[in-house]
Symmetry: C2
């Protein structure tokens, strides 16, 4: 074996210090293994941005070393950036059947050819360069989730993926605690584990408890039922279908991603839907309200989602009417509280009864709480620990939890994106970091919107814009047309004619001054106009619009 | 007494179907009583807006009837719009000492003269036209809060104000349950009550429990302590000061509104601060970290607040250092979860220990939970009920709670802003509504930003702007300068020169076409340019910037 490195590097390129865009590298000599490759949703201040993907400069520079991408499960924050990074690097992809099925759809949408997709199943073990990767069955809010045991030349690395410990999952494929226990006897070098719910004490409830709630609600009502949930939560959808079958209701699937999930899920055998259960939305009127369940997207109150459109009477085929029963089978993701609340209010205004999380047990998390995390640490018994999948405060809290279980503080690495942690068989320490960060995707543009563009968008969003146009004679510098002033997003112009007229006067005054002082330099002229107008408007109305002076020469 | 109306009207002009801008009218014959007059904070989509105040068109039309404004307490959502409505109407204002003190500050800031301010105290009863108003001591998260019993010609109206039931408040002024019980024996006609926490079962904990937590934390640490809380929560501030005194720490007050509160609170006798306890921030270095407590604003993660500035090293006098202990003594208001989380993360990055609500009992709500609301309904025994102070779902839930206690559904009025509910001695029903709504305040402009301006701001914020300028000869319509293209917030221009050059070509092509077809009409020219460029850019980059064609004539 080559002597040139002999150190194992673990590099979280995304997903630490944030919830989203999970991607972690494991590197040894000339081999790099990529674990997951997800996207993040834009922060509030990333105006107009559609999504955020990881900066993979480091991977691109070392693209010859990449041996493969292994995926833990099919959520967007773990697979969503794959179509983008495949434009820069090439590598075989490994994942369970459902995960690969979802990746396949993405690749089709992006019209990417010749991707090497490989379906593995829990229990399989594959070799990628210096690494041997074993896949271990886990419980999560999407089926077919796995943890990874990566056998490297310096020791075993365990990556938990996203997980909870559910003793009574829907698919009867219980988390493989025996395998985790067995690996724990082998002197594991490093554990990387999900920190999402580390602030919550106790245990996450089993997915099955939600099914009990559905059965209870379905048994008591004759109303039409509409259930909104995450399209990726196939177990949840299965439970809604089961309750519908039990209480003799037909099922209508609504929302593009929900229709996709049900198709893929049924095709790959993850959803069990008795024939004749699902009907077309156009046939709804042949049934009584008591014979109908609608499963829909929109549990986060997304304005364009099917549920929002139903609530605000913008859905072409389904309007919420008095007497409907709507179940929001989800928690608002932090940041979405207001939009969810608005949809709930609107549904109620239309006379619907609405059941949401604070009223009944219609949702459970997919992530492990404190006691489950303790079980994981205790089974794996790692020498070193890297908390992942969390904001900084989650990582720090997870570090404290591990310390409480006996892992020394110096053996725990609370990382940032781009941190490099170097391991030998018995040591671990931070090395020099590598480039990491956010690449913003806006429409078809990848990375062409940066801080300057965002700063301008923010400025424009707050006080709008004033354009000042002047045409000047190129021979003598005299004004031959204008100044004209056009504003957008600043004031309602029809009711502010005086203000616009006074603004013109201010500009004329500046032009006169400049003419008098023989100032014809455009940059000076523009900055004089900008300064004078800015001062005038702030004084007058305490607003600070973007001011764009334009000089034309004829 | 006049026979012309003989009906009592209750009109919530704000605060129903929303949390914020509380204002309710009580009207009988030629008398109108205004209860509270608050502002709301802007919704996310109200870009650049500073605050929202109620539309008082109805009050302005009936301004001769207004007998007075009575205030329940001094929070912004109950008094914040007073300086604005005093520009349109005039009326004497009544409130307790602290409430009037806070109003006085506002009026001074706005330089409004000749306002008739009247300090009352709990237990007082005043006559305003046909109404007699009795003030009743309540518990809330600001001292000197009152409920109102309004004696009208057709019966008693009880308005709860914002309240909780705290048996062990900080000022020893316990909520006057005896008075509420006594009024309840007099056949109350209508109750209006706070719905904020109606979704929470049980009881809100006493403010005093937070003090116990402070004492516990203070007793165990030698670190410098920084506590962030709401500036209006004088009881909380008192408890922090008490703990500081008990554990021999000096207190530093930070943040403009916190400094104001401490000044007003001390001056009016609501804060008890032993001499020498508060020191100037410039003297901090004369003390050990273990001898210092900083009380600061910024508990909502507001970017310009003192705590945020400390966290991001932008505070002139105080930087967070490793070893500091920061207590966030507040819950994030819905919508603020992300900003709070960001500040917590940043504090931790700097090495501070951070205690927030999910870790310890460092905050309690100021609003009644379900069991407290039941106590209120049971004591008052109203014939009719109007839930107020809540989103629609809170009002609906509060209606259900009242029904559970025996109030018939037809006696409960779930209102919208502007609803009119008409009462006689034994009937109540909805009458025709009056004008109500949101007036947006942006800088010094009141109501000059409406839907068109907001729509433009939204458009600008998402994809930015492209300005196209062309100068045309007024005699023959030929292009003499341009087209020039300027963009802001669209793409990073230096890396997109090709795109901008191609865009110019598209515009030139349009101009040529128009010249050929003798099209010189400006409107047509502009719309052709806009359409062609929009189509080109969407095709090319899937973005839709605002396009502003400007034609100059020489």
């Amino acid at each position: 074996m080559s002597k040139k490195q002999n150190k194992l590097k673990i590099i979280p390129l995304g997903g630490v210090g944030e919830i989203g865009k999970n991607i972690t590298l494991v590197e040894y000599d000339d081999d790099i293994l990529i674990i997951d490759c997800g996207l993040a949703f834009p922060e509030d201040e990333m105006l107009g941005i559609d999504m955020v993907i990881p900066d993979i400069t480091y991977l691109f520079k070392n693209r010859s070393k990449i041996k493969g991408i292994v995926l833990t499960h099919g959520h967007e924050d773990h697979i969503g950036a794959i179509p983008y990074i495949l434009q820069k690097i090439n590598a075989p992809i490994y994942g369970t059947k459902l995960t690969i099925g979802l990746v396949e759809n993405k690749i089709k949408d992006h019209k990417i050819k010749n991707v090497d997709l490989n379906v593995i199943q829990a229990g399989d073990r594959i070799t990628l360069g210096n690494f041997s990767v074993e896949f271990i069955k886990m419980s999560h809010s999407i089926p077919d989730s796995v943890a990874l045991a990566i056998y490297t030349p310096v020791g075993i690395v365990v990556h938990s993926g996203d997980f909870k410990i559910d003793f009574t999952p829907i698919n009867d494929d219980v988390i493989d605690l025996h395998k985790l226990a067995e690996i724990g006897t082998k002197d594991v070098l490093v554990l990387l584990a999900d920190s999402t719910n580390v602030e919550r004490p106790g245990y996450t409830m089993s997915e099955r408890t939600v099914g009990d709630t559905f059965n209870d609600i379905f048994s008591k009502t004759k109303q039409r039922i509409i259930v909104a949930t995450f399209a990726s939560n196939i177990h949840r959808i299965q439970q809604i279908i089961d309750a519908a079958v039990l209480y003799d209701r037909k099922v209508i699937i609504s929302g593009r991603s929900m229709v996709n999930t049900v198709e893929v899920g049924t095709e790959l055998g993850y959803l069990n839907v008795p024939k004749g259960t699902i009907i077309d939305i156009d046939d709804m009127n042949s049934y009584l309200p008591s014979e109908i369940v609608v499963i829909t997207t929109g549990s986060q109150g997304e304005p364009m989602s099917a549920l929002s459109r139903m609530a605000f009477s913008e859905h072409r085929k389904l309007d919420i009417v008095s007497g409907d029963l709507v179940i929001i089978s989800a928690s608002p993701i932090p940041g979405n509280e207001k939009t969810v609340s608005r949809v709930v209010d609107q549904l109620m205004h239309k006379g619907a009864d609405v059941i949401y999380e604070s009223l009944a047990d219609v949702h459970v998390s997919g992530h492990a709480c404190q006691e489950e995390l303790k079980l994981m640490h205790t089974l794996i018994k790692p020498k070193f620990f890297i908390p992942i999948h969390g904001e900084y405060r989650h990582l720090k809290r997870h570090s404290e939890l591990a310390q409480g279980l006996g892992t020394p503080k110096e053996n725990i690495f609370v990382a940032r994106n781009g941190s490099v942690i170097e391991f030998t068989e018995d040591t671990g320490k931070f090395g020099p970091s590598v480039q990491a960060g956010n690449i913003l995707v806006d429409g078809l543009g990848i990375g062409d919107v940066g801080n300057i563009v965002l700063r301008d968008r923010k400025h424009l969003s707050e006080d709008g814009l004033i354009v000042v146009v002047v045409t000047i004679d190129k021979n003598d510098g005299n004004v031959v047309a204008g100044p004209d002033i056009i504003s957008r997003g600043f004031v309602y112009v029809r009711e502010s004619e005086d203000l616009m007229e006074e603004s013109k006067k201010v500009v004329r005054e500046v032009l006169r001054e400049c003419e008098k002082n023989k100032i014809t330099d455009w940059a000076t002229l523009k900055s004089r106009i900008r300064d004078a107008l800015r001062g005038f408007l702030y004084e007058k109305i305490k607003r600070n619009p973007m001011i764009l002076p334009i000089i034309m020469e004829v």
